[in-house]
């Protein structure tokens, strides 16, 4: 046994336990949410990477219920904001109000908004004005809120799960690119399969809903978040992730013909970060301690699909960014040769 073969056995135990417990939480959520196995896993990945997710799907697919269930199983404080055109930033982050203290003196006190939670459901986020949407920016990026020159930290873990309806676009304000880029994953909530829909009908029209066990605590999640960042990625795998992101840029070498035709701007560096970070979670969930090419590929669609900005031609022809990314994956060699 050489020097490289010495390590702390506890770290192996910790890593394996983390993976096991995350799987348990996923299973528990699955007791309430029929189908959407990948979606649940991706939300957990997002949370463990300290990221936020934008869920896109038509109304009635259980997005809100899913998010509430995640908060319940993970034992996190959950709040919900229904975004409307007249929603103001203060309605999200809170505001200073004049109140009397215990001694009867009038004092200005900060009244926390719904953002001060751990799982924030921003329902139909594209219905609020950009000004209100941008109120979330600082919270999402910095995990704190600044009001009247004073900064208030948000309790970790903090995850924004925003939803938007891809069909009904009238009276909506599409999220600006800067805001979109803040979302770690963009997840698509698909219509349930036949059997899943049958199960949904059965569960929701029967007796009392299932009582869910709290599988993880906020403390667990924070420690897992730290552990996951320690999972290494080899230089070649990281290089692969970077090349994938580069290939989404029409002017870069390795870009596919489709990217050159239909993409105006490729993914931001956050895309590459997302690939590796999510890969780390996938590796740990798979009881491995190094990121593989498969992990990177698995994260590619949710991490990159909202970071590709289509050109006019792409928009006009209704090009799906998922197809572009699949093609990029197809043509990008693992080893770079």
């Amino acid at each position: 046994m050489n020097a490289n073969e010495t390590w702390d056995p506890q770290i192996v135990e910790r890593a394996l336990a983390a993976g096991r417990r995350i799987r348990e939480a996923q299973t528990e959520i699955g007791r309430a949410i029929v189908g959407h196995v990948d979606l649940v896993e991706q939300i957990l990945v997002c949370l463990l990477c300290r990221g936020h997710a934008l869920l896109e799907g038509v109304p009635g697919l259980g997005k809100t219920y899913l998010i509430k269930t995640v908060g319940e199983v993970l034992d996190l404080a959950t709040s919900r904001i229904q975004f409307t055109p007249d929603l103001m930033p203060a309605d999200i982050i809170g505001t200073n109000v004049l109140v009397r203290d215990e001694q009867g003196h009038q004092v200005i006190r900060f009244q926390k908004g719904p953002v001060f939670s751990q799982v924030l459901l921003a329902d139909e986020i594209n219905r609020a004005t950009p000004k209100t949407q941008s109120a979330l920016l600082e919270a999402m990026q910095e995990q704190n809120v600044t009001v009247a020159g004073r900064t208030y930290p948000l309790a970790p873990p903090f995850i924004v799960l925003a939803t938007q309806n891809p069909i009904e676009m009238e009276g909506t304000y599409p999220l600006p690119e800067a805001q979109l880029d803040r979302f770690f994953f963009k997840l698509r909530v698909d219509y349930p399969a036949y059997d899943d829909l049958l199960a949904i009908v059965d569960r929701t029209t029967g007796g009392a809903p299932a009582v869910l066990a709290r599988s993880l605590s906020a403390q667990d999640i924070v420690s897992f978040q730290e552990l996951i960042r320690s999972v290494p990625a080899s230089r070649t795998v990281a290089d692969y992730a970077v090349r994938l992101v580069y290939a989404t840029h029409p002017q870069r070498e390795g870009a596919t013909d489709e990217v050159r035709r239909f993409v105006r701007y490729g993914s931001s560096p956050r895309g590459a970060q997302g690939l590796i970070l999510a890969g780390k979670v996938y590796a740990l969930l798979d009881k491995r301690f190094a990121v593989s090419f498969d992990d990177v590929r698995r994260a590619a669609l949710p991490a990159l699909r909202h970071r590709l900005i289509l050109s006019f031609q792409g928009e006009a022809e209704g090009v799906d960014t998922d197809d572009l990314i699949r093609r990029v994956i197809e043509v990008t060699p693992e080893g770079g040769t």
Partner: protein, 502 residues
């Protein structure tokens, strides 16, 4: 049996060796498939176009392909990581070997914090253990290259063609001028027999033999062969001219010229046509008859004619007498002349045989070419002896005897009865490649056989020959085509060539 302690670096090396071996095999198959395809094409072209190269060319071609394949496999470069990526993929190890290989690097391990370093060590150790179970043959299996079937089929085809070639099936195609070569050899041998001590003629005979050998052995390309045929043709022609100039003069016959003049004058006055006189003269001269024989024959001929008075052209008579007074070459010189002319004909046939016709040419020109190549070559030697004397004279086109006679007859204005069709609708167009870059075009505007003539058969033959000679002189075809063109027109006119072919 693999060693249990094979580490990742050694695994990379083993994988690389295996990969190179597989690459070499694939490169060889690919290169051979290309070189064999080229070889097959070359063999087929060789058979079709009688190109001259030996099997060494094919060996060189395929050997070069092998060398290229070896070089390609030797200089191919790959990152070490790529071998481990392949192994990971085949064994479903999710990049374990690759990550372990990279994490095993101490510098890489030290660059990260403790927790990460611990993970890296774990991964490296797992990869190290796993590397012992990696079989390079599974990573790079020795699959049969996809092109092996094509390569095998090509190799079989090449071998078949070579075997058929060796068995002589393609002999006529590979050496298409073998028959012509034999004719040349024969002509050279006969020329050598006549040459006696004439070094120039002996050298000419040797040249015939040399060209014959090259053609039979298919050791000369067509252009070079054509050049040599032209050169030999020129030399034979020069020999013929020399012979004519140096022919001995028989003084005895000049004394008989007055008798001949009287006989001709009598024949013409008795109504014998000038063309008949000329024809008789030409025939008898070609047969080596003497003036008394000619006078006798003339008298016999005009006695069979009705006594119709014709005006006697004194000028024309004078010309005939000039011809008559020309020296009769001795027998041995005549034989040599005949031999040289025969050689000339063989050369013309050889030259015609070297002509490549473009695809889709009319069958008629093919037959015309055939009539001058190989098939007619052997019989033609005997035709000179077998055909009637007048035909022999007319087809020979000898300027020393027959041609001048024909020309003299034509100058009397008889060609007015035979009109060579000009203009009008094109009956047939034939195109043939004479030499590279030269295309001969023959346009037949009408069928000459349909023309009418009030002349007798003999007169017509002379006139036709004159027309043909004029046409040949005007169109100036290459030497090797002259006989061909001449025979072709004669056959169209329904004279000599038809007889020759029969």
């Amino acid at each position: 049996m693999r060693e249990p302690g094979v580490d990742l670096a050694r695994l990379v090396h083993t994988l690389e060796l295996r990969w190179r071996g597989v690459l070499l095999r694939r490169s060889i198959v690919d290169a051979l498939s290309v070189s064999l395809a080229v070889s097959l094409a070359v063999l087929l072209i060789r058979a079709a176009y009688a190109l001259t190269f030996g099997p060494g060319t094919l060996v060189l071609l395929n050997a070069s392909a092998l060398v290229v394949a070896l070089l390609a496999a030797a200089i191919a470069r790959r990152e070490p990581a790529q071998f481990l990526i392949d192994a990971d993929r085949v064994y479903g190890l999710k990049s374990l070997l690759l990550s372990g290989y990279e994490f095993a690097d101490a510098a890489s391990a030290r660059a990260f914090d403790d927790q990460r370093s611990q993970f890296e060590r774990i991964v490296a150790a797992r990869a190290q253990r796993m590397s012992g179970g990696i079989d390079p043959r599974r990573v790079y299996p020795a699959r049969t290259p996809r092109r092996i079937a094509i390569t095998g089929a090509l190799a079989t085809a090449v071998a078949t063609v070579l075997l058929l070639d060796a068995s002589g099936l393609f002999a006529s195609a590979a050496a298409p001028y073998a028959e012509t070569g034999l004719l040349l050899e024969d002509a050279g041998r006969r020329l050598a027999a006549r040459a006696e001590r004439d070094e120039e003629l002996l050298d000419l005979a040797r040249e015939f033999a040399r060209l014959s050998e090259l053609l039979r052995g298919d050791q000369i390309d067509r252009d070079e062969a054509r050049r040599r045929v032209d050169s030999l043709s020129d030399r034979v022609e020069q020999q013929l001219r020399n012979l004519e100039r140096t022919a001995p003069f028989d003084h005895d016959e000049t004394e008989l010229l007055p008798d001949a003049e009287a006989a001709i004058r009598g024949a013409l006055q008795a109504g014998m046509s000038e063309s008949d006189v000329v024809e008789l003269f030409v025939r008898m001269r070609s047969e080596g008859e003497t003036i008394p024989d000619f006078v006798e024959a003339l008298e016999e001929a005009h006695e069979r004619r009705p006594d119709t008075a014709f005006g006697l052209d004194e000028e024309r008579l004078r010309e005939l007498m000039e011809q008559l007074s020309r020296p009769q070459p001795p027998d041995d010189a005549t034989d040599l002349t005949e031999e040289l002319r025969e050689s000339q004909r063989v050369l013309e046939q050889t030259g015609a045989g070297l002509i490549e016709l473009t695809k889709g040419d009319d069958r008629q020109i093919g037959e015309a070419l055939d009539s001058g190549v190989g098939r007619d070559a052997a019989p033609q030697r005997t035709q000179a002896d077998e055909v009637p004397a007048d035909d022999a004279a007319s087809t020979r086109g000898d300027p020393g005897d027959g041609l001048e006679g024909g020309t003299a007859a034509a100058e009397t204005g008889m060609d007015g009865d035979f009109r060579r069709p000009e203009g009008g609708p094109i009956f047939r167009e034939l195109r043939g490649v004479v030499t590279e870059g030269t295309i001969m075009e023959i346009i037949i505007r009408d069928v000459p056989a349909e023309a009418t003539s009030g002349l007798s058969e003999q007169e017509r033959a002379i006139v036709i020959e004159r027309v043909v000679e004029e046409a040949v002189a005007r169109e100036n075809p290459p030497p090797q085509l002259r006989s061909l063109v001449r025979n072709y027109f004669l056959r169209l006119a329904g004279t000599g060539a038809n007889d020759e072919r029969e």
